[in-house]
Symmetry: C2
């Protein structure tokens, strides 16, 4: 980075400091997320007797009236495909989603919200949105924007790193 020398590490102290700062940033990011996630999980259970993964799956479906395949759900929710199988199973048992064979691919299934599922989700989503808004309400609007922008950078950087980590494509 410095154009004076090619020495790989010229300033141990600041490099080490930056390393620690990045670690602290990660821990803080994690603790913020866990704090909110745990609160949301508890409230969803208390208020609607639904789990967070089930809510997330329904949220993914709500924007896709044509349904989503198990694999697509797995990618969007960032969980394994074996996981989607189980969560979907329970939602089918509750009558909130249906799983019908894909017309174009006999391997795949299309998962869709049932009318009851959609109705239930919309009611939950409205309250859920209020919870989230409440959490961030003390934050000035400019901070919200700043966080959005910074997190977009983080997301892009991490995406690049994890892609490179596995395959150089």
């Amino acid at each position: 980075m410095t154009d004076q020398t090619m020495t790989p590490v010229t300033d141990y102290e600041t490099a080490a400091e930056r390393c620690k700062a990045e670690l602290r940033l990660w821990l803080r990011l994690l603790s913020c997320t866990n704090l909110i996630e745990n609160a949301v999980r508890a409230r969803l259970r208390e208020t609607f007797d639904v789990t967070l993964p089930q809510f997330d799956l329904m949220a993914a479906l709500e924007r896709e009236p044509d349904g989503l395949t198990m694999g697509e759900l797995s990618r969007r929710l960032m969980v394994s495909s074996g996981n989607v199988t189980g969560v979907t199973e329970r939602l089918v048992a509750e009558g909130l989603v249906v799983r019908e064979p894909s017309p174009s691919d006999r391997r795949a299934f299309l998962v869709k919200l049932t009318p009851a599922g959609r109705r239930a989700f919309l009611a939950m989503a409205m309250v859920h949105e209020g919870w989230i808004a409440d959490f961030f309400d003390d934050l000035p609007g400019e901070d919200v924007e700043a966080l959005m922008a910074l997190l977009a950078k983080v997301k892009r950087a991490v995406h690049a790193k994890t892609r490179n980590g596995k395959e150089t494509a």
Copy 2:
């Protein structure tokens, strides 16, 4: 809050917009965290054959040579106490931690790293720190600082909200 009028909501449109913006912020925060967390989890497994919760528990112990009680671990890791029982059990089986009765409270246990556990953790922590640093390396130092400050605000706000949500203390 406004001293002019007591009207609860005066500007529906901007309020709704802000609500949506806050929801998007939460989803982005969640996806950033999941992205990093999943990558770290996979690398810990591949490289050291250890799970993330086990790593986290050891990390909490490393800074406390005198050991921590199960309850204190539960609070610091933000997981249920029943959970700590299981994770600790597995670490004891691996010989990485010990669980000895507390001298001052016969109900409590003190969990400590064994020398082997401490050695193993320090080796992992060094590599782990490198991973995290790598994820954030493309981010300018000022962005790291900005994120730290903003997330501190978020953490404090959410803490206040969740405390108030359960008990007005």
